[in-house]
């Protein structure tokens, strides 16, 4: 679609060369001496370029480099080497939109300039002065590029530096984001109806129609009400187009929908998880407080008159804390040279701890487990709240749903979950990801990344429970910074809709749609997409039709009373009493603590985890993470993939995955043979894409590096990486160090 196929070659304008396969380019324009041009995407425009620029190669211990041309376009910064590429390596995992020497503009995190051996962070002011001799670009996907500008003409160097700095660092309007140029150039041969057709065929549920929501309610047996009154955003622009609320809510329109409990998911027992935006309750605003009480009552009404509320803004770090912590954390992976690497290796654990990032991950998972415990063990409705209700609420609610519902652990299920909670739910992606380089730092925060990090922890602890792989998560986290997908470009459903409508050149044909990130074929061919599937996934036995746990018969539901909170016999008028006491509690304690649980949450969840751990593992049932110190780890693939010192040649998890895939495809082949033979057996075997395409094409796994499929070692020499400066690392200062080897004379040697 969108001319990414070979159809793009038909383009008549030479300046808009659409993407073609590398082999075709080679044959098209060959003279190697001539300045090479980047293969522009449809709608991509070149701003400036400079030659020769030296790009330092990273996987070389000496600071050598490659000469080439540096370009800046409206999509990316790109470097094209002067050297004719050696034999084309068949890259199994290639992004169609950008290559290893391309940096999408919104992916640029920081630019440093080296002026007289001094490294300075480039901000608006510095750009106007002189240009640096060396430019270092830190990317949001943790790549580091170093370009030497000394060899090119002064004016060219100045132009390219200023151009890159301007386009990457200056605040810009949404319209300047490449997605709008990209989709504004429909390439010949691709018509839009076809695109939409494709989208409908996807299995990812977009949650942009009442049917999707009804379906989801049916799937989880929710007994709630679908609100369609916000279809044209009359109710609120911050609320989703369609959403679901408890049945007991009558009044929708007060306070612009603020405080409305929005349904997330229903447990099979009947209790459900809700989220809401609650501004801090002020003493004066009595009316609004009453409104909130009504809302909480409505949630309680959902099932057995029990509810637990949790104000996440009080118990979890706020978005600025998250941003700060991540800023510290990512520094450990943005490594410019080998010396830095080995120096920082020494204090690795304590630096990691001081960033607090892993601790934030732990806190989020912990909170999600608390929510899960309420739903699963106590069968209590849960209402999580937050001032905006669109950040940590989503982290916690999505995590809880992944732990409880195996459907969300499939690839399509997971995408639907992100769609349901984050995209349709109006997470402010544009502000949080800072695609526009706004000066206002308050609203930037890697909340979505935090969610992916938490999911990764679950994946690494319980790999067989997930259909998708860690590579999938890594790619998804990268895709946030590829400014093409409608998924991550807007602050809310209303925002998306209004911008798309306004931008549509053909008003009569309805709003234009740019691809969603779930349209993976935009970035990867089907072979590369195979890496998204986890070969360890233990599939559910086929003949079981129900995706979820067997449901308890209805009559039993009435008998199973919640074990904590509002435990009262069902009698007439009971609810009124409860509301009174609830009101009292609200006044005294506001909405903060868990109600009615005396123990510390950490202790009770620990118990909950242990009792779960003692049961045999059911990968299609409840899933809980271990949260002890050693169990929460760094997402190695995402953070270490570009650091050559970290490559394990011939090792890493690739070695394992390859073997598994190999075996899996053999099993699948055998199955197919049997299927052909066995005519009586009508059972369908569902074929995963990775089973149809044999993945074994990447040859002997013995020589792949651990960073596969991301970085490739160009350095074929197969040399070990030997650390430098070892002695200074070890701070053994006590007398033990010299005990065996005679202490008397040590002083003179120290």
């Amino acid at each position: 679609m969108l001319s990414l196929g070979s159809g793009g070659a038909k383009s008549t304008k030479p300046s808009f060369v659409s993407y073609v396969t590398p082999e075709e380019i080679k044959s098209e324009k060959d003279p190697p001496k001539k300045e090479k041009l980047p293969d522009l995407l449809p709608g991509e425009v070149e701003f400036c370029s400079a030659n020769p620029i030296l790009k330092y190669t990273q996987d070389d211990l000496s600071q050598r480099g490659v000469f080439g041309t540096l370009f800046c376009t409206n999509f990316r910064v790109t470097f094209i080497s002067d050297e004719t590429p050696q034999e084309k390596k068949a890259k199994t995992f290639k992004n169609k939109l950008y290559g290893e020497n391309d940096i999408p503009l919104v992916c640029v995190d920081h630019i440093y300039g080296v002026y007289d051996e001094k490294r300075k962070l480039i901000t608006g002011g510095l750009v106007k002065n002189k240009y640096p001799s060396k430019m270092i670009i830190h990317c949001k996907d943790l790549r580091v590029f170093q370009f030497c500008l000394r060899f090119t003409k002064e004016e060219d160097a100045k132009k390219i530096f200023q151009g890159i700095a301007h386009h990457c660092l200056e605040e810009k309007s949404l319209k300047c984001v490449f997605a709008f140029s990209y989709m504004g150039t429909p390439s010949p041969g691709t018509d839009l109806s076809f695109c939409r057709e494709m989208q409908r065929k996807q299995e990812t549920i977009m949650f942009d129609s009442p049917e999707d929501w009804t379906q989801e309610m049916k799937r989880t047996k929710a007994n709630c009400r679908l609100v369609i009154e916000n279809k044209n955003f009359e109710l609120s622009q911050r609320l989703p187009k369609y959403f679901v609320i408890p049945l007991a809510i009558g009044d929708l329109f007060s306070y612009q929908g603020k405080g409305l409990p929005i349904w997330c998911w229903s447990h099979y027992s009947g209790c459900a998880l809700f989220k809401a935006s609650f501004p801090p309750v002020t003493q004066e605003d009595g009316d609004f407080q009453k409104h909130l009480e009504t809302m909480i009552n409505a949630v309680a009404h959902n099932y057995l008159y029990s509810v637990k509320t949790e104000d996440l803004s009080e118990s979890l770090p706020n978005i600025q804390d998250i941003q700060q912590s991540y800023n510290k954390f990512k520094q450990f992976f943005l490594i410019e040279n080998s010396t830095d690497f080995w120096l920082s290796d020494v204090k690795w654990f304590s630096s990691l701890e001081s960033s607090g990032w892993l601790d934030i991950i732990r806190q989020c998972l912990q909170k999600a487990v608390e929510v899960v415990e309420c739903l699963e063990k106590d069968n209590t409705n849960v209402l999580i709240t937050e001032e905006e209700g669109t950040d940590l609420c989503y982290v916690i609610s999505s995590l809880a749903q992944i732990m409880l519902d195996p459907y969300y652990r499939t690839l399509m299920g997971f995408q639907s979950l992100v769609q349901k909670e984050w995209v349709a739910g109006c997470h402010a992606f544009l502000d949080r990801c800072n695609h526009l380089h706004q000066k206002d730092k308050e609203c930037h925060s890697p909340v979505f990344l935090l969610f992916l990090e938490c999911v990764w922890q679950l994946v690494q602890q319980h790999s067989p429970a997930f259909q998708f792989s860690e590579t999938y998560l890594t790619v998804l986290s990268d895709s946030v910074h590829v400014p093409i997908f409608s998924t991550f470009l807007f602050n809310s459903a209303h925002h998306r809709e209004s911008v798309m409508k306004a931008e549509s050149p053909l008003a009569q044909s309805g709003p234009l749609s740019c691809p969603t990130v779930w349209d993976w074929s935009v970035q990867f061919d089907s072979k590369a997409q195979n890496f998204f599937y986890n070969p360890l996934y233990s599939e559910k036995v086929k003949h079981e039709k129900a995706v979820r746990k067997p449901h308890k018969p209805k009559h039993q539901r009435q008998l199973s009373l919640p074990s904590t909170a509002f435990k009262t016999p069902l009698k007439k008028g009971f609810f009124k009493d409860e509301t009174d006491s609830l009101k009292k509690m609200l006044r005294v304690k506001r909405l903060s603590r868990w109600m009615g649980s005396p123990d510390s949450p950490a202790a009770t969840t620990r118990e909950f985890y242990e009792s779960w751990q003692h049961r045999p593992v059911d990968y299609h049932g409840l899933l809980l993470p271990c949260l002890d110190g050693p169990a929460v780890r760094v997402w190695m693939q995402r953070y270490l993939r570009w650091i050559p010192e970290m490559y394990i040649l011939g090792g890493g998890s690739v070695a394992m995955t390859t073997k598994l895939m190999e075996l899996l495809s053999q099993v699948q082949d055998l199955k197919r043979v049997l299927e052909q033979r066995d005519t009586s057996q009508a059972a369908k075997i569902d074929h995963h894409p990775y089973l149809q395409h044999r993945l074994l094409s990447f040859g002997s796994s013995g020589r792949l590096s651990s960073s596969f499929p991301f970085a490739y070692t160009r350095n074929r020499s197969f040399k070990p990486i030997i650390p430098t400066g070892l002695m200074q690392s070890l701070m053994v200062t006590d007398s033990l160090a010299s005990q065996e080897d005679e202490a008397s004379s040590v002083a003179s040697f120290v």
Partner: protein, 612 residues
């Protein structure tokens, strides 16, 4: 002597206890079959536990750091301690070989109720605490006094349990290592290297093996002079030779240079000969495992390192690895951090403060440099530390694992341990302190544990390169302390022969090789002549949670990859069987009615056979 039925039963007990250890001796998960659990919970003696039970007490309370006090009965034999809880469901058991005890002590005085508290410090990273009512009759021995007696047999002039253990295994593990066969595998002797019988009766060096490989150009007479120049007579001898480049890994102890810079002509000649034996390189690298400061300090005691004047063409490199005392202290700190509970908020900085992984990094980095010189530089290397029996085997054996895929197989690894560690005299008795009550002995140090940890780190980085699994490594460590097998007893080959260890005890490899399937890594791919260069950055090193924190029930190991792989293997076998059955059926059918259509389905199946 044993009737087969008993032997079978005992075999089960042994297996069960081994498995429990792996899964943490803890309340058994309910997956386990009840019948099995019952059988496990019945105490049964090993062959050799003379008379079985030696001490027994009911009403002992075990203060479990994870689930609180548990009451039960405590049984002590000459091999193990066995606690069985009586008041808890699911049943809870604790089965500990006495060899793993490092210290047993009474904590405080008896309470008013006559309760006495005992603390047991174990070598396998845990501490146990029991509370027991003191017997009123002061003449009657408490079960803990029995425990102290059997826990430290060497201090009580008794023999270790390994000498009583009489289990018979189908394979004799003492035959695993045949030095001549192993050197022959490496292509030795050859035109440059010969075997020397100079130490045949251990007269020149009692901590070296009898069979030594030296350059052909050096006579035995010259060797004798070198013996007096190297610390403890541990002269430079060959450990391994590269099959193509002929670059050799040679091990030794420090030269006795002293403050005056003594020289030894024969030693210089020997190193020159080692270099000359490898035509590919005109250089020799000497790796001194110590920090240079310590190496220099050793000159005061008559030791030191090779000077560049005396050894031209040789380059000396210090690897900065610390001594046994530093390592012991580091492990002690690590135990404090991981047992019993992990402090969540400071976990990482606490881990860093133990320096344990930093030491691991230095050792791996040293081995990596050695392997790199041999493989990429095609240069021969000499490795030594002070005495050449602690840091030296760590380095040489790790380098050998990197260089030679044979040592990554189960049997190859056994050979490596037998060769580099046991025959070359790593002082297991002293470093572990088998049956010795002196827990403060400064000679104790977790050098071997550290080596196994390094191997584990490599298995993590290369999940398909090793034939053995993690359980194999843990089993080796458990039996390093258990004193059930003779393998890790004594300090040297000479001592083991004197004590007739191979005759009087069972080898650990008898046990291991009789049930290999438990120790096999299903992901293993054999790549011959495939060199492994691990990454030694601390970012890639992990704390070996499933060993160091295995007693914590929350850290229950999960090996989904291996499980899943085994599942798939089983599935493939099953499907293959079905395909073959169908094939046979079809073949029969076509045979019976041969006139039927030619495009028989049998043909479409043939490609399957390639998978077999």
């Amino acid at each position: 002597i044993l009737d087969p039925q008993t032997a079978d039963h005992l075999h089960f007990t042994r297996k069960a206890s081994a498995r429990t250890k792996y899964n943490h001796i803890y309340s058994k998960p309910p997956i386990e079959k009840v019948s099995e659990r019952k059988r496990f919970m019945q105490y049964s003696a090993l062959p050799g536990s003379a008379g079985g039970v030696s001490g027994m007490a009911k009403d002992v309370t075990y203060i479990c750091p994870f689930i609180g006090p548990v009451r039960g009965s405590l049984t002590v034999t000459n091999y193990r301690l066995f606690f069985r809880c009586t008041d808890r469901e699911p049943v809870f058991g604790l089965d500990l070989p006495l060899g793993a005890l490092s210290r047993v002590e009474k904590i405080g005085a008896a309470t008013s109720r006559g309760d006495v508290s005992y603390g047991l410090v174990c070598k396998d990273m845990r501490n146990l605490r029991f509370v027991h009512k003191e017997p009123e009759d002061s003449l009657k021995k408490s079960v803990f006094e029995v425990l102290i007696k059997f826990a430290f047999p060497v201090s009580n002039n008794m023999s270790l349990f390994a000498f009583e253990y009489k289990q018979v295994f189908p394979e004799n593990g003492w035959k695993v290592y045949d030095p001549l066969a192993e050197y022959k595998r490496q292509g030795l002797p050859n035109e440059s290297w010969r075997i020397s019988k100079v130490n045949d009766h251990y007269e020149l060096c009692d901590s070296y093996p009898a069979a030594l490989f030296v350059p052909v150009t050096i006579t035995d007479e010259e060797l004798r002079r070198v013996f007096s120049f190297r610390a403890k007579g541990r002269i430079p001898v060959l450990s391994w030779i590269h099959p193509e480049s002929q670059a050799a890994v040679v091990r030794a102890s420090q030269p006795m240079v002293g403050q005056n810079g003594r020289r030894c002509k024969e030693d210089e000649k020997l190193l020159q000969a080692i270099m000359d034996a490898n035509a590919q390189s005109h250089k020799l690298f000497i790796f001194d495992a110590r920090p240079s400061v310590n190496a220099a300090a050793n000159k005061m005691k008559g030791g030191g390192y090779e000077s560049e004047d005396a050894y031209q063409n040789a380059e000396l490199v210090f690897l900065d690895i610390h001594n046994i005392h530093v390592m012991r202290e580091s492990l002690r700190k690590l135990k404090e951090v991981v047992y019993p509970n992990i402090e969540e908020s400071h976990w990482l900085s606490n881990l860093e403060s133990t320096h344990w992984l930093e030491h691991i990094k230095l050792i791996l980095a040293g081995a990596l440099r050695i392997a790199d010189k041999v493989e990429s530089g095609k240069t021969s290397v000499v490795v030594h530390c002070s005495d050449g029996w602690d840091r030296t085997p760590q380095l040489t054996s790790l380098a050998l694992i990197m260089l030679d895929s044979h040592y990554r197989t189960i049997r190859g690894f056994q050979i490596l341990l037998e060769k580099e560690w046991l025959s070359f005299g790593h002082r297991f008795q002293q470093r572990v302190g088998h049956g010795d009550r002196n827990h403060t002995d400064a000679d104790r140090s977790p050098i071997f544990l550290q080596f196994i940890d390094c191997v584990w780190q490599m298995t993590r980085q290369f999940p398909a390169a090793f034939e053995f699994n993690e359980y194999f490594l843990i089993t080796i460590l458990d039996h390093l302390y258990s004193c059930l097998f003779g393998t890790f007893l004594c300090n040297s080959e000479q001592q083991r022969l004197k004590e007739e260890v191979p005759k009087r005890t069972v080898s650990l490899w008898s046990f291991v090789n009789s049930q290999l399937e438990e120790f096999v890594n299903p992901l293993y791919v054999h790549y011959p002549s495939h060199v492994l260069f691990p990454t030694v950055g601390i970012r890639h090193l992990q704390l070996w949670v499933t060993y160091y924190i295995r007693w914590n029930p929350r850290m229950r190991p999960q090996e989904p990859v291996h499980q899943r792989y085994k599942e798939l293997l089983a599935k493939r076998a099953e499907l293959q069987k079905r395909v073959e059955e169908l094939q046979r059926e079809a073949a029969n059918r076509t045979a019976s009615s041969s006139s039927e259509r030619a495009g028989s389905p049998t043909r479409s199946i043939t490609p399957v056979q390639t998978f077999v």
